[in-house]
Symmetry: C2
Subunit: 1006 residues, 2 copies
Amino acid sequence: SASDESNSSPTAEVSRGAYLPLDTFARRHIGPTSDATEQMLKALDPPVKSLDEFVQQVLPSDILSSKDLEIDAARSGGEEGYTESQLLARLKSIASKNTIARSYIGCGYAGTRVPEVIKRNVLEGPGWYTSYTPYQPEISQGRLESLLNFQTLVSDLTALPISNASLLDEPTAAAEAMTLSLNALPTPRQKNKNKTYFVSHLVHPQTRAVLQSRADGFGIRIEVGDVLADGGKRIKELGSDLVGVLVQYPDTEGGVEDFKGLADIIHEQGATFSVATDLLALTVLTPPGEFGADIAFGNAQRFGVPFGYGGPHAAFFAVSDKHKRKIPGRLIGVSKDRLGDRAMRLALQTREQHIRREKATSNVCTAQALLANMSAFYAIYHGPQGLKNIAERAINGARIIEEGLRTLGFETGSRGKGEDGRVLFDTVVVNVGQGKSDEVLAHALDTYKINLRKFDDSRLGITIDETVDIEDLHDILSIFKKFAKSAKEIKIDQIIASLPGNGTLPIPAALKRTSEYLTHPVFNSHHSETELLRYIHHLQSKDLSLTHSMIPLGSCTMKLNATTEMAPITWPEFSSIHPFAPPDQATGYKMMFDELEADLAKITGFDAVSLQPNSGAQGEFTGLRVIRKYQEQQPGKKRDICLIPVSAHGTNPASAAMAGMRVVTIKCDTKTGNLDIADLKSKCEKYSEELGAIMITYPSTFGVFEPEVKAAIDIVHQHGGQVYMDGANMNAQIGLCSPGEIGADVCHLNLHKTFCIPHGGGGPGVGPIGVKSHLAPFLPGHPLVATGGEKAIAPVSGAPWGSASILPISWSYIKMMGGRGLTHATKITLLNANYIMSRLRPHYPILYTNVNSRCAHEFILDVRGFKETSGIEAIDIAKRLQDYGFHAPTMSWPVANTLMIEPTESESKEELDRFINALISIREEIRAVEEGKAPRENNILKMAPHSQKDLLIGEWDRPYTREQAAYPLPWLKEKKFWPSVTRLDDTYGDMNLFCTCGPVDAVDEV
Amino acid sequence: SASDESNSSPTAEVSRGAYLPLDTFARRHIGPTSDATEQMLKALDPPVKSLDEFVQQVLPSDILSSKDLEIDAARSGGEEGYTESQLLARLKSIASKNTIARSYIGCGYAGTRVPEVIKRNVLEGPGWYTSYTPYQPEISQGRLESLLNFQTLVSDLTALPISNASLLDEPTAAAEAMTLSLNALPTPRQKNKNKTYFVSHLVHPQTRAVLQSRADGFGIRIEVGDVLADGGKRIKELGSDLVGVLVQYPDTEGGVEDFKGLADIIHEQGATFSVATDLLALTVLTPPGEFGADIAFGNAQRFGVPFGYGGPHAAFFAVSDKHKRKIPGRLIGVSKDRLGDRAMRLALQTREQHIRREKATSNVCTAQALLANMSAFYAIYHGPQGLKNIAERAINGARIIEEGLRTLGFETGSRGKGEDGRVLFDTVVVNVGQGKSDEVLAHALDTYKINLRKFDDSRLGITIDETVDIEDLHDILSIFKKFAKSAKEIKIDQIIASLPGNGTLPIPAALKRTSEYLTHPVFNSHHSETELLRYIHHLQSKDLSLTHSMIPLGSCTMKLNATTEMAPITWPEFSSIHPFAPPDQATGYKMMFDELEADLAKITGFDAVSLQPNSGAQGEFTGLRVIRKYQEQQPGKKRDICLIPVSAHGTNPASAAMAGMRVVTIKCDTKTGNLDIADLKSKCEKYSEELGAIMITYPSTFGVFEPEVKAAIDIVHQHGGQVYMDGANMNAQIGLCSPGEIGADVCHLNLHKTFCIPHGGGGPGVGPIGVKSHLAPFLPGHPLVATGGEKAIAPVSGAPWGSASILPISWSYIKMMGGRGLTHATKITLLNANYIMSRLRPHYPILYTNVNSRCAHEFILDVRGFKETSGIEAIDIAKRLQDYGFHAPTMSWPVANTLMIEPTESESKEELDRFINALISIREEIRAVEEGKAPRENNILKMAPHSQKDLLIGEWDRPYTREQAAYPLPWLKEKKFWPSVTRLDDTYGDMNLFCTCGPVDAVDEV
Ligand SMILES: Cc1ncc(COP(=O)(O)O)c(C=O)c1O
Ligand SMILES: Cc1ncc(COP(=O)(O)O)c(C=O)c1O
Ligand SMILES: O=C([O-])O
């Protein structure tokens, strides 16, 4: 089998047997060895003889694939994957087909120097990239602090009090701003038929396109125009139809306008003022919060995150105080722990879509934590003055270009310049003469390997970034020299000398930032590499990640993120490409996309794939939009009903609502957890004319392969509905069955679950969708780069292929596993879950299994009964697990007060045994309470988790010992991971919402 | 100044002021900002106005350089260094001049696949590379365990019970084997004039050359010949002249001989039998320990460490039980801690050269810990069966080549083949016909980018390694096809099918390994990437490194190892070059060497530099050999006296002895610590005719710039002596003064101290020497690659440029700092030391300062008095510092029971203050004992360090609280680093010497 040490493969030609490559991957990815697999099969309840027999007990026979999965890969007809070295060699050759040019295109993306210390220790540090969203704050204080730093950075620079911990990208942040604006309206106005979102024509084109895709579902009309024209006349005209206004600052053409007056006009209409902005610019320009903006957002990419051909980068989003409880995405808040010490956590989780379902105002879940952390560290490393230096240098660079172009006889221009008529930020627009744009662009590329932005036939844009050195300025001007009327030599030194102010920036008072920012010590203490290195490692040391132990989060698939998969993402051939670079500079990317799409299509049984959505929830929204577009073209009624089982993940109904669908809930059988087919049938009949889609998760969110899935799908199809499959649980299917074969029409995949993109502490992710051929024409397009179907829906991400630079991870995983390895991984993922379940069954009730007493890749531990017998709840077990060195399973989802366990195939039997023993030991601790040997309060579970301080400071008056608290099992004495704080006080935190670093207290003085 | 945030530079042209690059390096490398510098100058005792005035108080005026240091670098005439991005761009362009070919040269180096998980997490992990030699075992259990794994690996594979924790390279290991053989003889035989070390002619040529360089000093005659000839006749002839015999197994031509009989013959002469071997081969061949070898050693490089153009890699060295207390290098031993728990430590430190001085049998100090760890993890990842698979595949590959060559009509051959006449390991020798070698080599390179080994005009060697795939085998045979008589097509599949045994290896019984190896669980539990990743991180979590806090080890210069310096060493252009590849494939390397040599020459004031020695101690030996060679050519007596001050580092006298010099000690003034000039004078006069050299360290090992250094040097020169300067303290000199200007003739540098090569937990290091022009002709050469002076001494390392692949670190450091940055760093290093000293002076006596009450870059805290007042000794303070999160200063060197503190320029004022406050707090803890408030035993210092287990398990009956033990200062509650064990029991460990992983106990069951 694929996990065998011997590397022997029954299908390999006998004669090659003596000389097979040895650095095969599947056995490194999959935890249990073949010996362990045998032992585990025997230990199952009931035991089983072989892996294949076991699989037949888990999956309904009518969905089992009849053919073997074959991946187009190096060895043995696609069954065996590439070895690790073959993979890297092949990917290097693909990467080398990309062209690394100097891209001064701008349009929301700017070149940046990633400090090497951040690249190595954060982006390339498994301690950072393998952790999960910080749902368990006691073992996540490191990244919580880092994300709080990010929020403080954003809040300080935008001058708005509340910032979230990142969104997916600037255009989706714009969409969130629009939605928030809508929700901020009085309810009657929200229902207004003519409600209009007014967007400046100087907002980036990709943002306008994504807004369009999001506006449809909410029934909002997007109007694009000159918001400042005639003193804001149009805004006044819109009056109560106005949802909000969006401007870009600095704008897409580099202009910087004074919006002070505008805010008042917007607010007079009772609408919300949103500003898409650039954090770097805000070090020198008046921040949005000081000119009346209610919302400011943008892309933090230029803070130390490479282009990556479009992503991932962290978008930021900040709001004024009155919107703080409506802010989308995750919000880190400061609270305190049981000991009263300052501690951070995810705040206001009750707002989250997984609880609010279709009433959620946003479906964002996975965001861009890792990249937000990188940007925060970048700001910490440079500090306020360092950032300002970078901004001023960019402005100087732009002014040098502007002056040089003028000297060469070109007309430059954009609105909102300084008093001296010069640009106020990093972008210059130049007129090269009617019909001349392409010629100049071609010359720039051929002679200088430089990309500029094409606005139209005569206008080009040049955006100066941190990487532009004086030689680059010279090259930029040299491009234009060829087309100049003047024959003057370009002398940068002379141009600099001729600039007024000699390096000081004459910014008009109204636009000049005067307020302080980043005054907190964290931004003023880590400017040497040694200090930053230690700060990064200090934060990392507080966080539990896959470098420590398994993270058995149900529905999250925390598997190995192999180093060979991760290494290529920092190759310059992948990281240095601007998303709007000419497509022929991304030939390698294209090749990799095509192969990945083909592989994912094969794996899922679909005909076409879009890689654009950059999270699972985005995938859902995209899939539903595609379905709606398809249904629109069907004869008959408007099909806008979306059936969703009660057990669905909250993003499902939230996405459906956002796509403008009406959600109808389908019951589940309370005994088996399966879809209530009778209920489904009756709802289908009831809404037969209006039925748009059903959203189902398979295996179900209860962790079982429902036997009737095909029947359910047939019913929906019979009534004209499309079947959307939530692919979060795809890890249980690969090679054994597929959404396409089962009958789904669309499915999203979480590449950050099933396909090894690390979770990054809460992102990045990628949520591609696969579709049957009838839906392929609608796959999302892009305004600037050709992609998607012929009848493409508007884009759902700012970049044509979303988070392109992390796609090599999934590509590599698939290619190295091969069809055989992938299929074996699925079997082991099922085995691992069933092994834990079998061993725990004597100790805990299990909520749902199939008729053969098997679960799928995850299962639910039913701990609800302990509430009565001992007062112990799921949260107490979750927190106590931290004392045993484990991350808790998924808590209270999909069933309140239960624990859902998903081990993945990457965990070895030894690790599973440690985890099982921890849970058995906890069961005994519960029993002690049940039997009155330990009190119902103040017991070892209620007091969990135990931090070092908790055990070491002061007197000890608990009914258990310090040793029991810290070392409940012997191996913990050798390998102990410590929660850095005691249990968090959630209520306190939400009541006293505090989301920036805040005043310096004792803790910060370290 | 260079550390300024503003990046402004007074010398930069004004007009460029508006557009300076911002990613300057010096301010990242240097800890204190300019504000902090001001504060520190004021806080000095006595205070001083400016940094320059301060410097004048530290250095004698007669040695201060009159001119500014200029480095040939990018900006502003060499004063400003490259920025980080400029550096990487320049180095990439240099690197691209190297040619990456497939090198099947063998000769002690074989291609290997570095598992990506090991590369990223160990080689590229600052937690591993920034730690120091594990002198403080309680905060080093991670790397101690890893090195113990290395020792177990070596011991198991060689079947010899005791292995050390690495040596520098295989040839120096051979030299150590020879020395050990000498020392194992009865004393009279050691003095034998005809003593002969008999070396097989089938030992690698570079090993033979290095043996020659080492034999001279010991008066040993090297005889090279056929050791097996006529049943060992020559060995018997040598009789009591025989020191020992050295063979290579498998030999340099790939032959595998049965040496069982030979061992007996050697032992009959009372001599020692040493075997240079290959760990991979020992998975399939009878290990040396089983055929009578007393010593086995070799290069562990092919266990996951890249070529690196020669190094660094770990050499291994194992001995039979009777030699265990004589084994050179560091030895990890298992002992127990205060609680009786198993814990590891450096064993038998009393043997070490820093204690034994000229009686030491070896001078090895820094070795190859980081690379030994990589090799250990490689073995752990593959496990016994995986390693065997790799070995068998290499053999199969060689047999395929052999068979293919025969089919093509070539004669292949070497001694000691299998019964079927085929090769028994990885190397095939082929005869291409008289005078044909070069033509075949050229064709191999031009058409296939393949390097083979040239033995002579007609014979070539091909060594098959782990990276050789079936396509590579095809290419290798294709090279020869062009020169073949036969016109047969090469069909690898057919060749494989035709091999007898079809993939099973018919190894003759006498040569076939039958014993088990690597049976310990550590080698059988981490074969999945997840398990290995966690094991690596678990070990790392136990170790204090520069990622945590300052490591104030006097004489060790633990400064920042910047990521930009580190990144290039894993570029394939540097890591994939075989050391004996044709020089024109290493053009980039050559360029970098030349520039580094030029920069080091400028910095040290010398005329020529050799980069060959791969440690400081090796540099000493090389420098002294160069001096001896020079002196030999001077008229008059044999000048073999070496004057060495009592304060010298122990490697100085050890190296002098090894170079065959007689050591005469010079006194130091007990009040000032300065050289006793009167004593120097009288010794010079006494030995005037025989005076070879003096070795001095400057500033002295007491941390003071001696005022009379020039006078001392003059005296030595007057008497015909050469002046050797130990450059360990070069960090105090750069840009302010230089050994050359002061008058030294030779000096070694520790690039792993002053020039930012990380210490790697005990290596790698590089110890280049600089010399005045009269010594340049003698710089070491190499038998296979042209290097060194015209009258070169024999090589001191196996590779022509020693540890070439880490030289980019120092090159980068120098180029990024520029002359100005380097000089500023020196000033700050002096300031940092004096700041700590000034702040501690009210609390502790300081041992030596100059007349202005200043120290140099380090100083000695005199804690000897506490012994009487409180029973507290230096070790108690050192261990208690661990509780405060700090590594101890250098303990008991150069003065027993004192602490020597060196902060380096990379530490910020904030970190210095934390360290100072810790020492002040410890002083108060001592005072409590002095005042009887705490007992003389069982107090917080004597019980230090405190591990978690110590504080959490069982009852508490100490006169201090757990909180005092763990959190003596408030900030420790936020940032605590824990010793993982309590104080080690040194005596127990040395009495019960145990140096492999050993039987599985509770701890190992984790
Ligand atoms: C079943 C299910 N659907 C959808 C999602 C949303 O995915 P994402 O977080 O990538 O938006 C999740 C996330 O855990 C999930 O478990
Ligand atoms: C003064 C001095 N000389 C020589 C050495 C030996 O250097 P290495 O460990 O590189 O052999 C040291 C090492 O600490 C030292 O401090
Ligand atoms: O909401 C989740 O990320 O599961």
